[in-house]
């Protein structure tokens, strides 16, 4: 019985036509999100440098990497003759962006780090990991280079939050409750486009939850807290 299932499974893995209109149309939105995401990550790290003045130079370094990633992903779009839909991408990030700016205005470092250095970085790592096996050759090389940096960025947030765990725990839980449900909604918005690129929504969510759970664990949360926090709002989305 399981042998027959395997035959059906093999049939699912059909090739992707990277030059088709359908693929390029979906790519125009996904590519834009990645470009916008890297731009906002750059801006967010610069702003974080204003809050964490002793780490300003390190944060500037991270921001610089994000700029380089953005250029790489712009090249991926050009390679497929795709014009990224930047208006869509700006709108896509607006709620999360708004929450980051609100937190920045009140000098709430914990929330800023949760949004940028945990949620966004974990999501980027999950998405890039899922994308690499189905990417075109050009984009695969670029993305493989980018993902190595993203682990460093995630590590920055993990280290700071771990060192300040006792004073930031409560705020992390609040910020998680406010922001993670937004991520699920954002994911639902692009699930169809991602599928055209060969990326399954449930694989993306699972990879995110693995990465995010691992980060929360390093910071100091226990298994029970991690299970609750990383699934926050997932079903309602």
């Amino acid at each position: 019985m399981i042998g027959q299932m395997f035959a059906a499974f093999a049939d699912e893995n059909i090739g992707i036509d990277y030059r088709s209109d359908t693929y390029r149309d979906a790519y125009s939105r996904i590519n834009a999100i990645v470009i916008e995401g890297e731009q906002e990550a750059h801006d967010n790290y610069i702003q974080l440098g204003d809050l964490l003045t002793t780490l300003k130079a390190e944060l500037a370094g991270l921001a610089k990497m994000e700029s380089r990633h953005k250029k790489g992903f712009e090249a991926c779009g050009r390679n497929l003759n795709v014009v990224p839909d930047m208006d869509f991408a700006k709108e896509f990030f607006s709620s999360l962006h708004g929450n980051f700016q609100k937190a920045f205005a009140t000098e709430d470092v914990v929330t800023c780090l949760l949004i940028q250095s945990l949620i966004i970085e974990c999501f980027a790592i999950a998405a890039y990991n899922i994308y690499i096996p189905v990417a075109d050759d050009f984009a695969r090389k670029i993305t493989e280079g980018v993902i190595k940096d993203e682990y460093l960025h995630l590590n920055f947030g993990e280290v700071w939050l771990q060192e300040n765990f006792s004073t930031s725990k409560e705020q992390l839980e609040i910020a998680n409750r406010q922001n993670l449900p937004l991520v699920w909604k954002m994911l639902n918005q692009v699930a169809k486009d991602a599928k055209v690129l060969g990326m399954e929504k449930d694989a993306l969510v699972e990879d995110f939850m693995i990465q995010y759970g691992e980060s929360l664990g390093k910071i100091g949360f226990n298994t029970r807290e991690i299970m609750r926090m990383s699934a926050m709002g997932l079903v309602a989305a």
């Binding site: 019985m1 399981i2 042998g3 499974f9 399954e200 694989a203 939850m209 299970m227 926050m232 079903v235």
Partner: protein
């Protein structure tokens, strides 16, 4: 440190366990949610050998559910197993057993090709299917239950259902060389593999299940099914011994007729209580002492410091390795369950 990768028997089971453990976010969710759920370590285990040696382990819940196969969610199913393995490796576990359907999925979907997962190189030598120990225990259960219920193997017909699988073929090999069983009946779906096995053994009758059951004094059931098995009880010979090596085990409760003795196959009993919570939820009658033989294999490998994929691949289980694992099984205080 040893590890166990396990999963629950059904969605309903998973929901009730999540509720019992207080994981409310998981308790009320449907299959779609479990397809997205990440692996978790849900138990820490301490095992003491009768030699006095003490080892530590972790239980990794993969969040795989058999319904994923029934619903053709193969990508989700394979992801669960791979992600659980990566997770176990990242926890620094030296040897991990793939329990329940995990090893079957690993083999069936050729997951050994996958060596790089995210930024982790999967070290498959740190994993074992546990099938050698399971096969050994099943064989001992055949021998010991025959003694208990007065069936003389020298005059008996033993039907192995799922004979061409990794465990089934090892059971056939053992029964052929280590016992004086009169007749071996080989039952499986794949005819080509059945005849290969028959020629390897140089004996054995290839039969359909409905022809095999009425003539078998002992039935060893090791076929892999996404749902529990259904068996025509009225067709069974009386008396007969039914060794249920399937997962989930449902024969003991569903088959309660005179002269049909159902044994929970591939289950061992330890001589000393094991410190863990997880076996309470897989419906063992003595949860502190009873466990799947495949899980026990990773404990044995840890006790002996054999951090290697002792059981791996398909149909590679040798009699010598069954002897080897059998000897350390006895040494550390495990014995086949004969209920």
């Amino acid at each position: 440190m040893f590890g166990l990768i396990g999963h629950l028997t059904s969605l309903a089971h998973a929901q009730s366990v999540a509720k019992d453990l207080g994981y409310d976010e998981y308790a009320g969710q449907g299959l779609e949610f479990w397809c997205m759920a990440p692996p978790q370590i849900v138990d820490e285990i301490t095992v003491t050998s009768i030699t006095g040696q003490v080892i530590q382990g972790k239980y990794v819940e993969s969040c795989f559910l058999p319904e994923m196969l029934a619903a053709k969610q193969f990508k989700a199913a394979t992801r669960k197993i791979i992600n659980a393995m990566v997770y176990a490796q990242k926890q620094g576990i030296d040897i991990t057993a793939l329990g329940g359907f995990s090893s079957i999925i690993f083999e069936t979907f050729n997951l050994s090709q996958i060596r790089q997962v995210r930024n982790i190189h999967l070290e498959i030598e740190k994993f074992t299917t546990g099938n050698t120990h399971t096969a050994y225990i099943l064989c001992r259960q055949v021998e010991q239950s025959c003694l208990k219920f007065g069936i003389d193997l020298a005059k008996a017909t033993v039907a192995v259902c799922g004979a061409t699988g990794d465990i089934g073929s090892a059971v056939c090999r053992w029964l052929d060389t280590r016992t004086d069983v009169k007749e071996l009946v080989l039952v499986a779906r794949n005819q080509e593999r059945l005849y290969q096995l028959q020629s390897e053994l140089g004996r054995g009758k290839v039969m359909a299940i409905e022809d095999a059951l009425p003539i078998a004094d002992v039935v060893v059931w090791v076929a892999s099914m996404a749902k529990g098995m259904e068996i025509d009880i009225s067709s069974l010979k009386r008396p007969c011994i039914l060794i249920d090596g399937g997962y989930p085990k449902n024969m003991a409760t569903s088959i309660q007729v005179p002269d049909v003795y159902v044994i929970n196959g591939g289950i061992v009993e330890h001589s000393i209580d094991i410190e863990w919570k997880i076996m309470n939820i897989v419906s063992m009658s003595a949860p502190a002492r009873q466990l799947f033989a495949c899980f026990a294999e990773s404990m044995l490998l840890e006790f002996e410091g054999w951090h290697t994929n002792f059981s791996w691949g398909r149909n590679q289980i040798t009699i010598e390795n069954m002897d080897k694992i059998g000897a350390v099984s006895i040494k550390h205080g495990f014995r086949p369950l004969i209920a």
